[in-house]
Amino acid sequence: MKLKSLGLLAAGVMAASTVVANAQDQSLTIVSWGGAYTESQVRAYHEPYTEKTGVQIYNEDKSAQALAGIRSQVEAGNVTWDIVDMLQADAQRACDEGLIMEIDHDEWFAPAPNGAPPTEDFIEGTLGDCFVPSILYATMFAYNTEAFEGEGPQTIEDVWNLEKFPGTRALQKIPQKNLEWALIADGVDPENVYEVLATKEGQDRAFAKLDEIKDSVIWWSEGAQPPQMLADEEAVIATAYNGRIFNAQVNENQPFKIMWDHQMFEVDGWVVPRGNEDQLDLIKDYLYFATDTQRLADQAKYIAYAPARKSSVPLVSTHADSGVDMKPHMPTSPENFKTAVQFNTEFWADYGDLLEERFNAWVAQ
């Protein structure tokens, strides 16, 4: 008898200690883009989640190399990333290659407050087999108002007008979006941009248009660079993510202005690399929490990206630190959205390799 109860006691102690150990050990490694963006996720998702569950969250700012990173981790059989914030196009590729988990959206995520299932509540066409979006962001041109006397550039054509708006342009060192804008500046109807870009002549035309400003271009690769370049006046006009410019405008009082003409928008969100199945319950629990209507609306308090759920849109309020009304700064606000172009992830999945190679060669020549 005594022996048995001792055994029970021992088992109980062991069980208790594993529970304690678990609560302390549980942690998630979440990969994102860094800077103001990660900051907004930390404040909207990570901190409330840690407060609620005690789970530690570690950030890694590696999203710029997310696909290559997941690929090498999965192939090496040593996956250290639990959740990765990724662009939809890259997520589609990773999904096709079997590198990330397939997602049952209605099972994994919370319904809208009115009961609508996630598959109906997220913006159409943004849910992927392995992907759930959290924000909709825009890439567009912004400029330093101090660099120009009078009005700054208003349209894509103005960006190419070196006489009227002299100075260095900072562009992202990728073919995506630059080629589209080049064609639009060259007079192609935004509706037909991808059709034209699929042809050899269209590609030549886009590169020829970029040639016109190549000598006045410096290239950036990290989202934090363009606000810095504008602030230093290393560049007078720059392409940038709208949230980064908003951040510089509001938190750093920089004299920047966003030119919303032909902004290109796309979604960004979460994927789960394969290989951490023992963590899956925790991962799902986190994602359920971080993608519900309130949480997505919360993120818009910290950065000017639009929530990817329809039910979150009415909840978007004011900036947490400055009290600025966030609605006019959203890429989806009607004023900003007039000439918006949807970034075509399918086109770039097909033509990305070739155009990227050509672009890199063109840049280096």
């Binding site: 662009l87 096709d96 079997g98 399918e346 999945a349 990305g352 390799d353």
Partner: protein, 421 residues
């Protein structure tokens, strides 16, 4: 005592009765084993961290497993096919079978991505068809073409057959700006894609230029260091060593602060009225930036070996040459300079080999015209369209170039003559 003759040595014995020769051999062997055991950790370290990864990289540069592994039946069926036009029903049937399996294993995307590199659009074609492959009925050829008429594209099939080899030289071709045509011929790539040969050449000549600049700057400094009285030369030595001990990144960013368009030097020039505010010089994010920053960073590697050799040259040699009638210039050229060659050669080898593989400084200050091949290798390892195998091929070529340089250097100068200090 007389020396023992060889015959006597044969019969000499130690105290325990074994022949002396055996005993010596034994102890020599023991010493050798001990020596080997002492270097064993280093050897193991080198093999694990150096030889194995390099071999793996070289293997990767020619490895082409996608079609063979993920479309096994198709790859086999394509062996029979002549390569003209569109293949027959058996190939389509094999492909249908592979696609069903590939969708189940989620590997079809990997083949599609591989073929898409060669032929844009192949990805959506393969993935789109694979989605419906399990419902397809024979004859498969008609079914495929009904699904998408791009299946009749002979280029696609040519590429698929070509890529069904497990070992491929195509990454080396790409790295040298050549490519396979869908028919399997080797041709130069269209000019708009050519970039790597130019970059190899640029990397080589900029490394040579940086080495030459280092020689020109380091030689007089080293001479001063070696000949000045100790209290002055110590001060000068600190000036050389302090930057050497400072982090590479700090020194590179310092150059950015100095050289950029809104930077210190441009401000000074504008302030002094040499240039107008609109005409600020571009001294960074281009070749100039790379050359300036790298010359500065690599300079100590030239100064230190030169100094250590110059320090040992006896000044009386020069005096002797002068007393025998040589002019200062002749004495310097015929006596002093040859004596500094071992240090100069060591400096050249250090600086050139370090320069040719440099990465971080060109990445930060090189802009687009001042980057090195190593930056291209890195960019082929990152990003969403990373081409690890192309990076491996480029890296292997760079390795071969460096080894070639070392071999040439050894022939001309002789590595045993180097003096590093």
């Amino acid at each position: 005592m007389q020396d023992a003759t060889p015959a006597q040595l044969e019969t000499l014995k130690t105290a325990d009765g074994t022949p002396l020769k055996d005993s010596i051999r034994k102890s020599e062997r023991r010493a050798r084993i001990r020596a080997f055991l002492l270097v064993l950790p280093l050897l193991a370290f080198l093999v694990i961290t150096f030889i194995v990864p390099i071999m793996a990289m070289m293997g990767r540069s020619v490895y082409n497993p996608e079609v063979v592994n993920y479309l096994p039946n198709t790859a086999e069926a394509l062996q029979e096919w002549e390569g003209e036009g569109v293949p027959g029903e058996d190939v389509f049937a094999a492909l249908a079978k592979d696609m069903v399996q590939g969708r189940e294993d989620r590997t079809i995307g990997r083949v599609a991505a591989r073929i898409n590199r060669e032929l844009p659009g192949a990805r959506s074609l393969m993935l789109g068809t694979a989605r419906d492959a399990d419902e397809m009925q024979p004859p498969y050829k008609e079914a495929f073409i009904a699904e998408d008429d791009r299946w009749t594209n002979p280029e696609f099939w040519g590429i698929l057959k070509r890529e069904s080899r497990l070992i491929t030289p195509s990454y080396y071709l790409l790295a040298l700006d050549y490519e396979y045509t869908p028919q399997g011929n080797i041709e130069p790539r269209p000019e708009i894609y050519q970039v790597y040969t130019d970059l190899f050449i640029r990397t080589a000549w900029m490394s040579v230029l940086i080495t030459v600049l280092c020689i020109l700057l380091a030689y007089p400094v080293s001479y001063l260091l070696a000949t000045l009285p100790l209290r002055y030369s110590n001060l000068l030595m600190i000036l050389v060593l302090l930057p050497f001990w400072t982090s590479l990144l700090v020194r590179t960013s310092a150059w950015i602060v100095l050289l950029q368009q809104e930077g210190v030097i441009n401000d000074l020039l504008v302030g002094a009225g040499f240039i107008s505010d609109d005409g600020r010089l571009r001294m960074i994010y281009n070749q100039t930036g790379t050359i300036v920053a790298m010359t500065h960073i690599l300079l100590p590697f030239m100064i230190l070996p030169l100094y250590s050799v110059m320090k040992t040259i006896n000044p009386s040699y020069l005096r002797a040459a002068r007393s025998l009638g040589a002019t200062p210039l002749v004495a310097w050229f015929r006596v002093y300079f040859p004596l500094t060659l071992p240090g100069l050669a060591a400096g050249v080898m250090l600086v050139f080999i370090l320069a040719i593989g440099y990465y971080i400084t060109p990445a930060l200050v090189g802009g687009e015209t001042g980057i090195f091949i190593s930056n291209m290798i890195a960019s082929n390892m990152q990003g969403s369209t990373a081409q690890l195998r192309l990076a491996a091929a480029l890296a292997t070529i760079l390795l071969v170039l460096v080894m070639l340089f070392y071999w040439l250097f050894n022939k001309l100068v002789g590595v045993e003559r180097l003096k590093f200090g």
